[in-house]
Each structure stands twice: as structure tokens, then as C-alpha cells.
């Protein structure tokens, strides 16, 4: 018999057999659905429930329970979500702050991703650095076992959507999509491009975060009406030209050329980016537009991303916003999900690109002043549309017995940015220092609107889930107004713990301005103070025997730190990490964790090691709500469709409850206890 026909039939059978996916059968028991609502505050939620503005939350609370949920210490999202993911405290999972520090250089580092050590071995050929031996991979700094791995191992189908702090993506058999902390194509947390013919003015004391490209609108067809703008979008670092191990400078990024043609008679433009064309009227947002960056010639290695445009103004001035280049969801140049196919699968099901950038709300443009509140709110609506579609998809895929987590950013960043227009928590509160009378009237109820939007989403979840499913709605922390900025390094200087060289009063750790031979403590991160410890810090002077007394001295003085404006205590609590953390990584923690009182928060400058003159200042930034305070002033929320056992639960109890729901034993080092009544 001739082999060919048989093989062709076999090929056809393979191609068209319609083989089913590898979905497992979850246990024959009720499933679990968790809505993780970043930044939802129990006081605001209670008020809205009382006023009938959050009927679905009220219904959920009445069916099971509602109580404040203890947050992490410090109350920062990466720390809090890591507590939730692992059931450990920072001593176990190793995430202490948004910002960590390198004790050898005193420079800030990302808490999520320690810098890779060995960049590998390269040969330079024709101007290209070609890898010969691979270097260290970027790894996720979080340690401990994620709850989804333990639950998956128990035979449960798990899907986790946009979980914070999960980038770089640790290996997992469960389906996970990384959220907050996922980078854009440039490798940062989201840098937008502002193409304009007018030099933007940054608010006082604020450096522009966007990549500003000054352009001229040119008259290419010589008809007397300027109509064409040429610009470029920056993509990933030009890795084959960048010296291995070197951080990219401004000119070390791959670019994609962009042409904008403005119609001579109407406020409408044609944007050309690669093979893509988009028609955009003034004030409109574009769809996602794919963009490709060639790392090697002739398309031998093309890295794909996606951007959205916003035509802020076409005439008489020209202002075009380009979103950070999101990693292409259909084929991410680096993994953002487990399995690697999960992110493209979602793109397929959602009909294309979605926000892959960890924090997609464009807070930087609003802080820079290139966006006004109306622009910002329009952009938030796009993010909401995106996350609402993903929630619907997660619900459609959910089956009895499954465990699904969906993260919602609707509340958190909007509380950060819009609190100044009207305090949603304290009726009759004094106007915020960043209050803007021109836009306050239009936006004073926006935060309430976002709560109501989430209430609508919760209603959709409650309608769709199988009735015996355990539904949890929880947040990582609550919110408070942020009215006073603390320059903690300035306070340390004034208290004699931090000394600058040459008698200077201001400077920067990164600029070498600190005299380490006389410095006993320094602040880096949002709630962290490190002792300049001998044997640990490169130029440490505090001996092991002195450490306890220096720390105690600091603690006493911090608790006595009063606001010179009204005598209000600035700091509510100061903890030694060795007293509050447990696990193998306590030694990496800051020596002291500073818990600010309501209204106070670390300045951005001090967080990154800058020493300014004043210790305190009014917060005039649009970043006007905050939670980087003592944990007791910013608890989150916990709502359950089943009765709660008692009060006083925290994030690690949620983890313990998830495991208990599926009969999984607590993992080593886990802190929490289940909160459902038996």
C-alpha cells in the first residue's frame, strides 16, 4: 500500500480533529470567586451603602458579612498583595516597599525585580552585541508559594487576572495574568509620549514624567497651510547596540516613525504608524494601534507593542498624546502570563489588544499637567471598559468548582488623583491644598462614581455566579487624604542622623552628597528607614551593638515629630522590622517602618533619596489621596457571601480561607487563619 494517502489522511485528521483544550475538571464542590478591588475604603463604602448608592455591596454584606480588612505594614500595594498571594508577611515574601535599596551603593532598586547580576557574555560584530552565553534572567523578587499554586495542586482550575506584583511572571501551572508592576515596552512602569509644538510647563517642583517631543507642524505640500508632523515613538532598549549591563540612555531606545497629517479645513488628522492608519478628530482617543520595533535589520527580530493616541489639540497648537507602548497582548515580547499562551488567548477572546501595562491609568500626564481632569477621566473610562470586558470574560469562563481572582484598579488610582476635588470620606473637610476650583465642581463626585461603577460590576458577578459559589470582595488597603508631604531625609538631617558633605543642607544620595562616615540613618522607599549599619552598608558606621539604641532613639523622636503648622503628630507608629516580620528574609528589611498619621505621607523626593530643605510642606500635587500611612488608618474591606467568623481579619486570613475552602493545608510560614464560620 502506498504510504502517501494514509499520511495525508492522518494529517487531515490531526488538523481538523478539533481536539479539546486541556481544561481540568475541578472538584465537585462550590467554587470561589474573588474580586480584588485595589484601594476600596470601608468608611466610604459604608456611607455609600447607607445612602443606597452601593446596593450590590449592601446585598453581599447582608448575605454574608462586611468588615474592615487589616492591611500590610507598610500599607503599600506591592506589599499588601504579596501578603495576600503568599499568606506570608514581608519577612517571608521579601517585598517591603515599592522601593528597596542596594546596601553597597545606597541606590534605590525596584522591589519587584532585583537588577540581574551577570549580563552574560557578548561578542561585538559590526556594531551589534551578540549574546554568546546567556546572562541572569530577570526574576520576581517575591518568595513563598502563591495560593493559586497550592489550590491548583489540589486539582482546581484556577484563573488569576491582573494580579499585582506578579511580574516577572513566576512559573505556575495555574493560569495567571500579571497586573500592577508589569512593564511597558521601555521597561518602565509606563512612560507616555507628548508630541507638541509648545514647550510644556511642569508644575512647580515637579519633573515631567512624559517623553516630550517638540515638533513643528510643517507645510509639506507648500500650499501655505502647515499640515504634517513627523515624530517617533520610543520602544524597547536597543539591546543589540547597548553595551551589556549598561542602563539605556535617552538615545538608546528603538524607535518607530510616526507621521500625522492634519486636514487643512477640519480638526481631524490621519496618523500613520508603520502600516497602520488612524483618523482622529480633536479630543478623540484612538483604538489600539499595533507598533513594531526592529531590533535586528530586515525584520529579523521585530518586537510588537500597541499604543493609543489622544488628539488633545490639532490646531492652532499641536498636542498629541501617545500612551506608553503596551506589550502586545497577542504575542508579548516577554512573558506576562502563565502559561505564556494565556495572554494571547485572552487577546483572542477579547477581540484584540488590552492594557498589559501594570498601572494603565495615565496618572503621570495628570501630574505633569499635560492632561487636565477631563482628559484623565476620559482615559480612565477606556481602562474601565477594558477591565469590565475582562471581568465578563472571567465570569463566562468560570465553572462550578473553579477558583478565579479578578483585580480591579477602578478605585485606587482615582482616589490618588481626584481626592483634591472633594473629600469622599470626611464630610466638611477643609479644601485640599491641591484643590482646583475650576474643575472641582465637575469632578468632586468622581470617586463616588467609581465606587458605584464597581458596585455595578459586583452586581454582574453576583448575577452570573453559580449560587453556591463563595464570593469574596476585598481590597488591599483603604484611603485617606494626603495633605502634607514629609521630607523624611530632611528630618533625619535636622535630627543629626544624616549628614551631608561640605556643610550642605540639600542634596541627593545618588549624587554622592551624603557623608556616610557621619550618617547613622537614611530613608529610601515610602515608609522605610535604614541604619547605616557597619558590615551591611558599604560605608556603615553603626555597629551591631549600637543598632538597637539608635533605632530606639529614632523611634522616640519620630513619635514626637510634630507638624510645625498645627502641632499635629506626623507619625503614628514606628516599628522595628525584626519585631513585626517573620521569615527567612527579615534581614533584608528596612530597620524601621514608619507609619504616618492620616494626611501625612512620604515625598517622592525623599523616597528616592533626595534631601530637600523643609521637613514638611503642603501637598500641592494632584496626587492628593494616599494610603502610605500607618496600617490602622487605612484598612481595606472584606465582604463575603458567607458569614464571617469574627472581626479583626487581615490579608493573610484571606489566603488561609482560600486554602481552607479547598481543603488545602496551610503552607509553611503562613500567618493567617480562615475566617468563615464552619
Amino acid at each position: 500500500m502506498h504510504k502517501a494517502p494514509v499520511l495525508l489522511v492522518a494529517l487531515a485528521a490531526f488538523a481538523f480533529s478539533g481536539c479539546a483544550g486541556s481544561s481540568r475538571t475541578s472538584p465537585d464542590r462550590p467554587g470561589l470567586f474573588i474580586l480584588g478591588i485595589d484601594g476600596m475604603d470601608p468608611v466610604i463604602l459604608q456611607r455609600l451603602m447607607d445612602e443606597g448608592k452601593a446596593p450590590n455591596f449592601k446585598k453581599l454584606a447582608e448575605s454574608g458579612g462586611f468588615q474592615p480588612l487589616g492591611t500590610s505594614n507598610p500599607a503599600q500595594s506591592p506589599v499588601a498583595w504579596s501578603n495576600f498571594v503568599t499568606g506570608l508577611d514581608p519577612g517571608g515574601h521579601g517585598i517591603y516597599d515599592f522601593v528597596h535599596r542596594d546596601p553597597q551603593t545606597y541606590l534605590p532598586t525596584s522591589s519587584a525585580t532585583p537588577p540581574p547580576g551577570d549580563p552574560g557574555t557578548f561578542v561585538k560584530v559590526g556594531g551589534y552585541y551578540l549574546p554568546v552565553i546567556a546572562g541572569d534572567d530577570l526574576i520576581n523578587n517575591r518568595t513563598g508559594t502563591a495560593w493559586w499554586d497550592a489550590v491548583y495542586a489540589a486539582g482546581v482550575d484556577v484563573e488569576v487576572y491582573r494580579i499585582p506584583g506578579n511580574y516577572p511572571v513566576p512559573e505556575s501551572e495555574a493560569k495567571t495574568l500579571s497586573g500592577m508592576g508589569t512593564v511597558d515596552m521601555r521597561g518602565g512602569y509606563g512612560q507616555y509620549t507628548w508630541i507638541t509644538d509648545t514647550v510644556p510647563t511642569a508644575p512647580a517642583g515637579h519633573d515631567l514624567k512624559g517623553d516630550v517631543q517638540l515638533v513643528a507642524v510643517e507645510d509639506f505640500d507648500l500650499d501655505g497651510t502647515p499640515e504634517t508632523v513627523k515624530a517617533a515613538i520610543k520602544g524597547p532598549p536597543d539591546i543589540f547596540h547597548l553595551e551589556p549591563g549598561k542602563l539605556p540612555g535617552e538615545t538608546d531606545y528603538l524607535t518607530a516613525p510616526l507621521t500625522v497629517s492634519i486636514d487643512p479645513a477640519a480638526e481631524v488628522a490621519l496618523i500613520e504608524l508603520g502600516a497602520e492608519r488612524v483618523v482622529l478628530q480633536e479630543g478623540e482617543w484612538s483604538r489600539w494601534v499595533p507598533v513594531s520595533f526592529d531590533a535586528l535589520p530586515a525584520g529579523a527580530m521585530a518586537l510588537g507593542g500597541s499604543v493609543r493616541f489622544y488628539a488633545k489639540e490639532l490646531r492652532p497648537g499641536f498636542k498629541l498624546y501617545v500612551s506608553p507602548v503596551n506589550l502586545g497582548a497577542d504575542a508579548p515580547p516577554q512573558p506576562i502570563s502563565t502559561s505564556a499562551e494565556f495572554a494571547p488567548e485572552l487577546a483572542d477572546l477579547l477581540g484584540g489588544q488590552y492594557y498589559t501595562q501594570g498601572m494603565p491609568e495615565e496618572t503621570n500626564a495628570l501630574k505633569d499637567g499635560t492632561f487636565n481632569d477631563d482628559d484623565y477621566v476620559k482615559q480612565v473610562a477606556l481602562v474601565q471598559e477594558d477591565s469590565s470586558a475582562m471581568l465578563s470574560l472571567a465570569l463566562a469562563r468560570f465553572q462550578r468548582g473553579d477558583a478565579t481572582f479578578v483585580y480591579l484598579s477602578d478605585i485606587d488610582l482615582q482616589c490618588h488623583m481626584l481626592w483634591r476635588h472633594g473629600d469622599p470620606k470626611y464630610a466638611g473637610a477643609a479644601p485640599h491644598p491641591a484643590f482646583e476650583p475650576t474643575s472641582a465642581e465637575a469632578h468632586k463626585l468622581d470617586i463616588e462614581g467609581y465606587y458605584r461603577h464597581v458596585d455595578g460590576l459586583l452586581g454582574r458577578v453576583m448575577d452570573r455566579l453559580p449560587p453556591d459559589t463563595l464570593l469574596l470582595a476585598m481590597s488591599d488597603h483603604g484611603f485617606q487624604p494626603f495633605t502634607r508631604v514629609v521630607h523624611l531625609n530632611a528630618w533625619l538631617r535636622d535630627q543629626g542622623f544624616l549628614v551631608l558633605k561640605d556643610g550642605k543642607r540639600t542634596g541627593h544620595i545618588a549624587s554622592g552628597d551624603v557623608d556616610w562616615s557621619r550618617t547613622r540613618a537614611y530613608a529610601l522607599g515610602f515608609n522605610a528607614i535604614y541604619l547605616n549599619l557597619a558590615g551591611r552598608e558599604a560605608q556603615g558606621i553603626v555597629t551591631a551593638s549600637e543598632a538597637a539604641s539608635v533605632a530606639e532613639d529614632l523611634r522616640t523622636r519620630l513619635l514626637a515629630f510634630k507638624d510645625d503648622k498645627d502641632g499635629h503628630p506626623v507619625v503614628l507608629r514606628v516599628e522595628r522590622s525584626s519585631d513585626i516580620y517573620h521569615g527567612a528574609r527579615v534581614a533584608e528589611a528596612p530597620d524601621l517602618v514608619v507609619g504616618y498619621d492620616r494626611g501625612y505621607g512620604h515625598s517622592d523626593e525623599s523616597t528616592l533619596g533626595e534631601i530637600l530643605e523643609p521637613e514638611l510642606a503642603d501637598n500641592t500635587s494632584r496626587w492628593s489621596g494616599n494610603h502610605l500611612m500607618a496600617p490602622e488608618v487605612v484598612p481595606g474591606v472584606l465582604l463575603s457571601s458567607r458569614p464571617l467568623a469574627a472581626e479583626g481579619h487581615d490579608l493573610t486570613d484571606v489566603t488561609a480561607t482560600i486554602l481552607a475552602w479547598y481543603g488545602v493545608d496551610p503552607l509553611p510560614g503562613m500567618q493567617g487563619t480562615p475566617f468563615l464560620t464552619p
Binding site: 495525508l8 504634517t228 497629517s261 477640519a266 490621519l270 492608519r277 483618523v279
Partner: protein
């Protein structure tokens, strides 16, 4: 070429369109296999089969020489050079058949692409249509170009006229159908098909005077004296094909993959040396 394309389009509109759209898997298996068979017949007819056989034999001989005498550089180096030489000869013998077979293969492939690669535009969505003026014809400025829309398609934004002699429209599709857009350029009118909603079917994304017309045969080429050089629908959505690879590149890879496989499996049956 335009006439050849038109005839083929008519034929394939019957073979794929009227008979095929409810069974894409069948067409996407049958036509690549036929493509493979056509390739074999072309190779048999126009290639130097004896030369190919001789070149392959010598390549095998010299590879064997390299393996057997791998410790003796005086043997290995000349053998490698000879093996490379016969490889070049082998490639040379294949140039003519490749040049011949590229015509029928491309003709089949582009027809499969127009019928199965693109999904009709979804009703409710927007599309960008770009008309380019032909600088060789001239006489019409972008300001003199307008579009006439049928029921079921609406203008979603004012047109944009660019310095690059293009006019772009953003259109919103409000009803399913094979809509005919009429682009007026001075006194001339060119039509463009916009397929929306409904079943999978032939979808035309580009109508052009340029050489690209060979790859996009779904609509006739604009007349040589037309001021319009091309009309293009910018948004292209892949038509899902189940487990088969979708879109232009998916069908391209599938077509050549299956053709190659069919060719290798059937070469003995047709008495062809590859």
C-alpha cells in the same frame, strides 16, 4: 496579467465562493495538495531530472567521504568544498522550475487568501478607508476627492486630506452587506467593496493599480487613466479557521507547508526526483 487574474477570480469565485465557504478545511487541504501536484508536474516537465539526481548523488558521496575520513583534513576539506559545489549545482537546477511554478502557486494562494484570510467588518465597528491619488495621472487634488456611501455605512469623522496625495475617511458600518463605496475623483468614480457582517466570504481589502494587484485580485484593477491609484481598507481582521492558522501569513504558511508535504509524499508516485 490583469486579464489572467480576472479569469482566475471568476473561476475561483465559483470553486471557492459558491461551493466552498461552508467547508474551508476542505479547500485549504485540497488546493495546497493540488498545488504540490502542480509543482511536481512542473518540476518533471522543466527541470533537469538527470542533473538533479547526479548532484544529489555526489552530495551524498562527499558527505559520506566527510564522515568516513573525518580525521584526515586533507580529505575532509576538499570533500566539503565539493559537497558545497554540488549543493549550488542542485539549487541551480531548481531555479527554472521554481520560476515556472511560482505562477500557478501564487495564483492559487492569492485566491485562497481573498476567500479565507479576512473576516468581514463587524457591524457597528469603524474602518479607515484610504484613497491614494495617482501622481502619473494627476489633474485631481485631494480636496476634489469625495466619497459616496451606500445605506449601511456612515461617515464617522470628517475626511483627512494629506500632503501625500491621500484622502482618508473613517466610516462606521451600521448594517451587514457587501457595500459598494464610490470614490469620486474629479469626474471619475471608482468603487470599492466593503464587506460587513454575515457569513465568512471573499473579502477585498485593497484595490490598486500597482503590482500589488497580483496579490489582491478580488476586485478589478482601476483603469490606467483613473486619478485614483488605490483604495484600501486599513483594518484587516483574520477570519478564524478553527485549528488552521488564520490570516494572510497563516494561510501562506499552511499552503506551502501542505504543498511541500504533498510534493514529498507523492514524488515517487509521479516519478519525480526532488
Amino acid at each position: 496579467m490583469a486579464r489572467f487574474n480576472s479569469i482566475l477570480t471568476l473561476v475561483f469565485d465559483v470553486l471557492l465562493g459558491r461551493l466552498g465557504h461552508d467547508r474551508p478545511w476542505f479547500d485549504l487541504l485540497l488546493w495546497p495538495i493540488l498545488g504540490g501536484i502542480v509543482a511536481l508536474l512542473v518540476i518533471k516537465a522543466v527541470s533537469n531530472q538527470a542533473g538533479i539526481t547526479r548532484a544529489k548523488n555526489f552530495i551524498q558521496v562527499h558527505l559520506l567521504e566527510i564522515v568516513l575520513f573525518r580525521d584526515d583534513l586533507r580529505v575532509v576539506l576538499p570533500a566539503t568544498a565539493r559537497a558545497l559545489g554540488y549543493n549550488l549545482m542542485y539549487l541551480g537546477y531548481n531555479i527554472v522550475p521554481m520560476l515556472v511554478m511560482i505562477v500557478p502557486m501564487t495564483a492559487i494562494l492569492v485566491q485562497l487568501v481573498s476567500h479565507y484570510a479576512y473576516a468581514p467588518t463587524q457591524v457597528g465597528s469603524v474602518v479607515t478607508v484610504v484613497a491614494s491619488l495617482d501622481p502619473a495621472v494627476g489633474g485631481v487634488k485631494p480636496a476634489e476627492v469625495s466619497i459616496e456611501l451606500p445605506p449601511g455605512v456612515e461617515l464617522d469623522a470628517p475626511p483627512v486630506r494629506s500632503a501625500g496625495q491621500e484622502v482618508a475617511w473613517r466610516l462606521r458600518v451600521t448594517a451587514p452587506g457587501d457595500h459598494v463605496l464610490k470614490v469620486h475623483a474629479g469626474s471619475q468614480v471608482e468603487e470599492k467593496l466593503l464587506s460587513a457582517g454575515g457569513e465568512a466570504r471573499k473579502v477585498s481589502v485593497l484595490r490598486t493599480k500597482s503590482l500589488e494587484a497580483v496579490l489582491y485580485p478580488a476586485e478589478p484593477v482601476p483603469a490606467a487613466d483613473s486619478p485614483i491609484a488605490s483604495i484600501q481598507i486599513m483594518e484587516r481582521h483574520d477570519q478564524p479557521l478553527g485549528l488552521l492558522p488564520a490570516g494572510e501569513s497563516g494561510i501562506l504558511m499552511w499552503f506551502f507547508g501542505v504543498s511541500l508535504l504533498a510534493g514529498f509524499l507523492l514524488k515517487d508516485f509521479f516519478g519525480v526526483t526532488l
